[in-house]
Amino acid sequence: MKKEFICIVCPNSCRITAEYNEQQIKHIEGAQCKKGEEFIKNEIKNPLRTFVGSVKCRNGDYQLVSVKTNKPIPKKYIKQVAQKTHELVVEAPVEIGQVIISDVLGQHADLVATRKVRKKVL
C-alpha cells in the first residue's frame, strides 16, 4: 500500500510517501533528512512519541514540575504514562533532567523533569 505521512521530527513537517506491505517497506519519498526516513520506518512498524506532561510538586515555587520521557516510547503507552503522572507527587527542589520515574513502564526511557523547581521560601 501507499500512504502519505506527516513527519513530526522537526517543524519542516515533511510529507513523506511510503510504499509498503506487511513484510517490508519498498520505497520512501519526500523526507528532507535521514531522521525523517527513520521516523517513517517506525511509524509503519511501531509509532514512537515523546510523552510530555506534569507531576505534582510539594513545597516548590511551582505547584507542578513538567516532565517528558527522555526518549520516544511506543505511542500505545502514552495514555498509560499520563495515568502514572497523575498518581505521583515529588518534593522540591527539582532540577532539569532529574529522573522522576526510571524505565517508565519498562519502555527503556526515563521520565525526567523539564522544569527547575526551587524549594518554596516561606
Binding site: I6, S13, G53, Q63, L64, H86
Partner: protein, 410 residues
C-alpha cells in the same frame, strides 16, 4: 533618572536572547524588565517539546529552552527586574517602570522591545450568546493547567486550529478531558502540520474545516455551543447549525503583537504584521528603539525568535557605536501571494534575513526577489503554508546596487 545603555522590555524568548547577544557583543550596561515573577515568558507554560531543533539540533521543552538562556543571563550577570512593569516610554527613550518599590525612570541609549503578543479573545471575533464561565483562550488554559494546576473542564470544544489550540487538545485529553472537536473557519489548518498529526490524529480528535461557533449557551457554566459550516466566503450556512453539548470552549484564534508601549513612543506600526515598521536591523521609525520576537511579528518557532533577537543585537551594537549609517532607503514592495514581508525597508544593504508568510497554502511555488525586472534571488518550495514563516537571507553582494526591491510568490 537612571541611565542605561540598553533596556530590554520583556524577559521572554526574545528579550533573553537579545540580552545574551548584546552582552556577547561587549555591551555591559543592560537591563531586562520583566512583568512576571520569573524570566522565561510564555516558554514557561509551553511544556511540550519541539523547541530548539534549528538552534540546538535537539528537541527541548519550553521550560528547558528558556532555562538555557536564563542560565546565560545569570552566568553573565546581566541585570534584570522582575514583577516590574513598564508603563510608559517616550521617543526620547525615557521609560517609566512601576514595581513594589514604587516608580522609577530610566533613560536608555537604546531600547529593545520584546513584549511578545497576546491572544485574540471571544470579543475580538464576536461570538454571540450568553456569558458563562468555561470560555478560555488556549494560552490562558495552558497557563492554568501547566503552571497553576487547575483543570479547566471536562467536555471541550476548541475553536481555531492554531498551534496552542492543538497542543492543548492533546494536553487536555491526556489530563482526562474529552475533546469533542476542533473547528476551523478556514479551509485549511492554522497550525503546523506536525501538530495536526501528533495532537489530533494520534488521539482521533475530529477536525472540522470551514466550521465555526455561532452561539454559546449556558448561564453559570457553558452548556453547549452551536457549530455551523461556512461557505467559501466565510459566511455561515444557517441550515448547517448544530448544537454540541460541552462545558468548555477553548479559543485558538490568533495572536496580536502587544504594541501599546510602542505606540506611546510614537513608533509607526505596520497594519499587516501588527508590529513595528522596521529596517533590516529591527530598528523602528524611532531611532535607537528596536523590536524583535512576537512583538514584531508572530512567530511559529521559538528558534526563529532567538535568531531574530541575536540579529537585532548586531544593530543595537552598531547603533551604540554610531556605526549605523543609512546608505539608502528602499521600501520593500509586497507582491502577489504574500501576506507581509519583514523588514519593511532596508537602509544599510548588509546581509539581511527577510521573513514573510504566504496568504494561502500552495504547492510547487517560488519566492522571487526582484529589482525592477532583474531577478536577484529565487527559491523554490515544494509546499508553502501560511502557518510556516519563510525566512530567506540575501547577502550584501546580492543587495548591492539595488534601487528597488519586490518580493513575490509565483
Amino acid at each position: 533618572m537612571i541611565n542605561k545603555d540598553v533596556v530590554i522590555i520583556g524577559g521572554g524568548a526574545a528579550g533573553l536572547a537579545a540580552a545574551v547577544a548584546c552582552r556577547d557583543k561587549g555591551i555591559e550596561d543592560i537591563l531586562i524588565i520583566e512583568r512576571e515573577s520569573a524570566l522565561g515568558g510564555i516558554l514557561k507554560q509551553c511544556i511540550h517539546d519541539g523547541f530548539g531543533l534549528i538552534k540546538f539540533q535537539h528537541s527541548y521543552t519550553g521550560p528547558e529552552y528558556a532555562q538555557k538562556y536564563v542560565d546565560q543571563v545569570e552566568k553573565q550577570e546581566i541585570a534584570y527586574l522582575l514583577d516590574s512593569m513598564v508603563i510608559d516610554i517616550t521617543s526620547q527613550k525615557v521609560l517609566t517602570v512601576v514595581n513594589k518599590s514604587g516608580l522609577k525612570k530610566y533613560k536608555a541609549k537604546s531600547i529593545i522591545l520584546a513584549m511578545g503578543c497576546r491572544e485574540r479573545t471571544r470579543g475580538a471575533i464576536g461570538i454571540p450568546g450568553t456569558r458563562p464561565t468555561g470560555i478560555y483562550t488556549a494560552g490562558v488554559a495552558q497557563n492554568l493547567i501547566n503552571i497553576h494546576n487547575y483543570m479547566i473542564g471536562k467536555e471541550v470544544v476548541i475553536l481555531g486550529s492554531g498551534d496552542i489550540g492543538l497542543i492543548m487538545a492533546r494536553r487536555l485529553m491526556l489530563e482526562g478531558a474529552t475533546i469533542k472537536m476542533v473547528l476551523e473557519l478556514l479551509p485549511y489548518g492554522s497550525g503546523l502540520p506536525r501538530n495536526f498529526n501528533q495532537c489530533l490524529s494520534d488521539f482521533d480528535i475530529p477536525l472540522y474545516l470551514n466550521h465555526t461557533v455561532v452561539d454559546i449557551k449556558g448561564n453559570k457554566r457553558v452548556e453547549a455551543i452551536t457549530m455551523a459550516e461556512v461557505d467559501h466566503n466565510g459566511k455561515v450556512i444557517l441550515s448547517t447549525c448544530q448544537e454540541v453539548p460541552c462545558d468548555t470552549l477553548l479559543l485558538s484564534v490568533g495572536l496580536i503583537p502587544e504594541n501599546e508601549l510602542s505606540k506611546m513612543a510614537g513608533i509607526q506600526l505596520d497594519s499587516l504584521t501588527g508590529g513595528a515598521l522596521v529596517d533590516e536591523y529591527g530598528q523602528s521609525t524611532v531611532k535607537g528603539i528596536f523590536a524583535c520576537g512576537n512583538v514584531l511579528q508572530v512567530h511559529d518557532i521559538v528558534d526563529n525568535v532567538s535568531l531574530e533577537a541575536e540579529h537585532i543585537a548586531c544593530g543595537v551594537e552598531k547603533y551604540l557605536s554610531s556605526f549605523l549609517k543609512p546608505k539608502n532607503d528602499i521600501a520593500i514592495e509586497i507582491g502577489e501571494g504574500l501576506r507581509y514581508v519583514l523588514p519593511q525597508r532596508i537602509q544599510y544593504l548588509d546581509d539581511t534575513v527577510f521573513s514573510f508568510r504566504v496568504k494561502k497554502p500552495g504547492k510547487k511555488k517560488q519566492i522571487v526577489f526582484k529589482n525592477d525586472n532583474r531577478i536577484i534571488k529565487e527559491k523554490s518550495f515544494i509546499r508553502v503554508n501560511p502557518a510556516e514563516m519563510i525566512r530567506i537571507k540575501l547577502t550584501s553582494s546580492e543587495l548591492s546596487d539595488i534601487k528597488h526591491l519586490k518580493v513575490e510568490l509565483n
